[in-house]
Subunit: 470 residues, 4 copies
């Protein structure tokens, strides 16, 4: 019986370089080899893969598992490779050791062997690809997590700057997308600041979750070689070794937590983006995006579209999908490394990259946008937006709130004329937008005085996470 | 044009009790009313709803927004209602104020009015259902989070007890579900201990995320009444007030984090459950569940099925679905309360309940199961499981690992006879299971000496989280 | 070691009625029993459960597996039970046989035994709960599928009526939520008609997928009793028996297809709902919902909120979650009944019910809403919405489209004055909204003449599916 | 305020080629340009993009919108481009028109302009990227759908061949992964055949859903140019034009249906893969994969791992994630093209490719595997697997089934000795595996006679779908 792959390849395999095969008499089928290759995605991990190998080589030499000379050769060769990240080196990216590799571990070992011969054959003692890949991924995530904290803070800085500038500029506040009460633009923008502040907290927890070193867990059960896991752990800057070798290779919680943190951040950015899209419609007219962050139409010459905001909104769905893919993959897996786990990295790389790009774009869109303040102010006073204030004024006169609510409801139904206020407050209630905003000065409210306090609190938080994950 | 609902109801509405309607001349359509009712799900929040109202009433009296007498009446009536949770009170569960209510807020306000008349009409001053529901949900989550930490620790305790008992009982270690290296049952069980330890960490973070008080944010923009948010915050035991009123009513991050923590915990329990299912197959024969945790067949009289483990495995999918539902619901929502947010609670209640039940079941299944130690030991030695140890023995003799790997691969291919070991190690290598396990004594490894250290570390963690969230 | 459940129950079990237990010496633990109970959800299937049992009993008698007298007793008793659906019968809903049942199969068999004694013990010959539950669920889905086709058609009818009425009423057409080109309201509404038309197609396929009878597959491998699967199949109105007994009990494709169809329908309704929310904002002002389909605020007396549309939008997320939960549950399951499969029904029941309710609500909201036609018409002409028409007019004069696009782009940038049109078209191009709409008369376009043709095509489709699934 | 992208790029934009910009005075920011580029993913559509443009150019010439000479030039140039698919042409893949393009539409128009100058500027008349992309994607999906039908049939053919070969080879049948009743390997394999048969049905429906032509819908509302949509529709082989222009550009149901069909197919393949993994464990020992479809370990020389099956199992999660991402993206989108829609294609391309590859691998794994028939037969008789048959034998003697179930349950509990059968059947019941299998000859059962009939039915279905979608 013969089968042909979707790409027209027959399944006859040829000899690929691989880190196993000792007990095999046959090469893998071509279709199987390609299906299993992870090298393309692995290249994101180049630097971390090499850092982990350097730490391992140093430890092997320090513990006498390999001799000091071989250790030095390995470290030197690895440092050279580290400088030749295929992302920046055309020469390296076309190396057959990389193009034909099953995975990055194999590629690096093949390159090492080419550079230093037999010493290269000693590096895999006391480790396995199972502990290696998870150590490398954790290291990568710690670094990207630190970059994320900085990127979030940069976007927060933009928001904070705008919130300061517009601390007392009125705009309508909405519930159910219906006008509710007048607020200030600064107050509204600060809501997004705090959302992002929680994202920093969440990514700080992700970094902490990633911050344990599995190296030396080997395939699943450690090794009989006299390795020193504390040495590689501290060499790589991890807080402590993972305490159980089987857990070390089976656990991907740090990936799940990262995907959740990314999906949540994208959810937040999708909410800002939704507002950017809405506020820049002709109907709202609150916001005009800069041309550098808008696009046009191939058919309608007049169009100015908020494509970046739409893409961020849409790609929030992608981040949701990545978490779901990952969790479905993990569900019901018995312990020990199973090849399914290879599927943890593509969603991780994509979600993290998406977050970093989207943060920049949201920051830039806001920083370069023009707010139409007169329109926002005008709208702030429409839709009986001061009715709640009126009901509260009645409460201050001793009317029970539920009664006041009904009285004002009837007043609204009859047209809500400013000249026919309920008698209890007829002389005293100021229905202007400015008065309404100034009155809402409870903690966290939109009154300029409350916004001022909030700005100070926000400022204090802005760079508080910067030391984490460094 | 006339339409009839799926249930045969016409859309003619009748007068329902509701907290709004002042400006409405018409009642809601019956189909709309039912679609919007959340009272059934809300009843989970009875105690917390009342605790929040008590704190609010005390604050209203303390700040003079209502007079002290009304404040006392409100608190007394609320305390009485608190003792009559419909979950335990038949009388209350059949109250028309509950059966016909739109939501719990409306039900309680109607009950209060029945009990104390006009004073009840004063309680809604300076708050809105928007800040109320989110305060109540946060309080509920903090309490359930604390219960979760205890439940996790109980299941960990079972695992730890078994791990101690079986610290040196051999079993096969697997990768790719193929025999890899001999390990010990205690070592294997401890891997699950550490998974659950991370769950405690995650739920502790959820509690912290929930631990801020939105009360007083009102609809979205605070109030002009002289409320004291710090007072209600400390009365309810929250760490601090939410700093922005708009964020306070729009944010559901604590729900998303809880759903992620639940889905991750269920993923972990699905992995233990998968092993319970596998290990209790006729083919593995490692484990026999107690009859109290097995079920039979309506047609095959001989069956003894691990249904509870299967249900936990299957319901891990439900927890994944709940997170996905929530995140899809949140995506792209502009700020301010939108009714979509009502959809946060059904998944939250279900996921939390599922986790609590599943933890008990996993603990009980393990605690009452019988392990077939002789079978496990026998299998531990099969499948060339000591081949890695042999390769490592060659490394100790100076053979590069990659070469040793090939040598042993060839030896396996030729049958792997114990009497034809490679010459370098022929006299010295002990291929027994016991020797293999004892040799793997690197940090976190399966050797009894390493398991001993790990047990001590685990013991120290067990109850460390118990003070949180209380 | 003792454990206590989250509900404070100890795990000591008491004797529950169950369809198995012959080989058991112990009762199930209480926490396990409750975790496994599906009776509450199963009650949705009352009528279908009994219909399947009636067909089975008739077949057993017809083939002589039981005697005709017992067959008659069984059918008569079942018919009586059928009339006492606990959904409508208080007496039945409090029967201990139901309240304490593990599942519906057990409840019915216990009720039968109470009614007719020993004859009841004969009904389970040649079947298992495994084939029973899946037959019952398929039957339920076929019936609900037929109801769904009718409900979709009803909502389509509302849309079609409105589209006819507003066939030539202008409104702005949007891309990227920016004004693009003038269209008609009838044209816009018809887009939703066709979306729903595809939903009918999808549900018709679901019905077809469900339309095969597993009964007689027994546990997984048929039976040695001389059953007649064709007889039960035709008695129940299925198209044909499922051809493989193992597949019959393992397959849940029809559930997955139904959940996908529901999620897609809800996605469509979420899009209409999003437009209802948008178009009824103060900023758009295109639409005013009837009070019977709006709600108010507990704090802001002036509010008129589109809560039903928001709930439908939010619950579309729930339908997405249900599919995800189901697919995660199915993934990686080996064949044969596994208890995980019990998790197929709660999402199915919820998604189907949600769709039926949401269809009614969308229909009613649209049918009772008031459109603000003057505002829509006014907006239709804003935002250079006729620029594309101008470019096309240039094309008609021989200008290459890409050049025309640039010319019109420059004209827009310079203010787009109607009196300074490009010379090629200065005399001939009519920039009015009416002319613009009338000109877009290509197949499927917004010109009244094209809408007319489209209405006729839609009308022809409206009731075409009504005969399916009945 | 200045911001720097995650890649260190400043946001200063340079002039990119784009199909819009007439009314823009500024270039897009670099970070925005890159975020919006879809060219890499679009390249999958090269052939279909050109086929659509050819049809459009022919129509423009046929209707006189452009002159015949320009039409011929366009078609000739497009045909040349069609032969130079960058997937196979190094020259083309390095064209700056492609590398710098925003999307494929822009790339092709730029290439055309380079080839034939001004005539190229005429091709975009009467169309928009909005209708173009969706027409191209539908065409692609129709073609891939046809390839999928063939690929499924190929895998079915392997299964069918094996089922014929093993029609009467005994193996254990499982429920709850516990031994239930003896079945045959052929019977078991056929269950997978029927699963795949439903996949063909589902993909045939996807093809039908894709089979309508949106071309000519332009941006959202057709055109004032005298296009002929029926002409392009039939030129491209679509069944009919999409009847509403707004729906034509807003609808992505065919993508959602395809993603569901792919996820369901992957779910099926994950179930086969799970069985491959299980059956090739040391514990089951039913199956040995060929070395060409196994992999080894970098550390354990003896390993033979079912990596391909594990990857397919894990990647079923990816297909679930793609559907979820897509549905979350679509939810709540108002009609008209929104840029979010760009996110439909990456999941579509990935899911379809994954299915095609996985089908080949599953076919090859099964075709080249070795079944250990003696072990399977031996296991078939264990675990009281003939107990149900015994209960049925009692039923044949007039014992009510529920009573028989209890009698046999007690017999099992007492050891289930073959020499101590219940008296009613002591002489007549043959407890052998062969007799048990032969007796289960009900329709769709495992008895060789029933399998034979089933094989014939399967054979008849095998190639029935081959004419679809071609």
């Amino acid at each position: 019986m013969s089968m042909v792959s979707s790409n027209g390849n027959t399944s006859a395999g040829h000899a690929h370089t691989k880190l196993w095969g000792g007990a095999f008499s046959k090469s893998p089928a071509e279709v199987a080899w390609k299906f299993g290759q992870s090298i393309e995605s692995d290249l994101n991990l180049w630097v971390e893969e090499i850092d982990v190998s350097i730490a391992h080589a140093k430890m092997l030499a320090a513990t006498g598992i390999i001799d000091k000379g071989d250790g030095k050769k390995l470290v030197k060769a690895l440092e050279e490779l580290r400088r030749n990240d295929p992302a920046h080196s055309t020469h390296m990216s076309h190396s057959p050791h990389i193009e034909d590799a099953e995975d990055l571990h194999g590629a690096i070992e093949a390159l090492l062997e080419e550079m230093i011969g037999d010493a290269a054959k000693r590096i895999h003692a006391g480790r396995s690809r199972n502990d290696q890949i998870v150590t490398v991924t954790r290291l990568w995530l710690k670094r990207k997590g630190a970059a994320m904290l900085k990127a979030i803070a940069s976007t927060q800085e933009v928001i904070l700057g705008l919130a300061e500038k517009h601390a007392s500029d009125p705009m309508p506040g909405y519930t159910h997308m219906q006008p509710a009460q007048p607020i200030t633009l600064g107050f509204h923008l600060l809501a997004h600041f705090w959302m992002l502040e929680r994202d920093k907290k969440r990514f700080a927890a992700v970094i902490e979750m990633a911050d344990a070193c599995p190296l030396g867990a080997a395939a699943l059960a450690g090794t009989s070689l006299p390795i020193d896991r504390n040495l590689t752990c501290s060499e790589l800057g991890f807080q402590s070794p993972v305490p159980n070798a089987l857990d070390a290779v089976s656990d991907r919680d740090f990936v799940g937590d990262a995907l959740h943190a990314c999906a949540t951040l994208m959810q937040h950015l999708s909410r800002i983006s939704q507002e950017i899209v809405l506020f820049s419609t002709a109907e709202y007219g609150f916001l005009k995006l800069d041309e550098a962050y808008s696009t046009g139409s191939s058919i309608m010459p007049q169009k100015r579209n908020p494509d970046m905001a739409e893409l961020i909104r849409g790609r929030a769905g992608r981040a949701i999908g990545h978490w779901t893919a990952f969790m479905s993959m993990m569900k019901g897996q018995p312990l020990g490394y199973n090849r399914d786990l290879q599927e943890d990295k593509p969603p991780l790389f994509d979600s993290v990259g998406l977050c970093l790009d989207s943060l920049v774009l949201v920051g830039e869109m806001l920083a370069t946008a023009t707010f139409n303040l007169p329109t926002m102010e005008e709208r702030a006073g429409e839709g009986f937006s001061t009715a709640t204030g009126l009901a509260e004024a009645l409460v201050k006169q001793g009317v029970p709130f539920r009664t006041a609510h009904e009285v004002v409801g009837a007043w609204v139904r009859s047209g809500g004329s400013g000249s026919q206020l309920p008698p209890e407050v007829a002389g005293s209630f100021d229905p202007s937008v400015a008065a309404s905003i100034a009155a809402r000065d409870s903690l966290g409210g939109p009154a300029p005085v409350a916004v001022s306090e909030q700005l100070a609190a926000a400022q204090a938080k802005l760079h508080a996470h910067e030391s984490i994950g460094g």
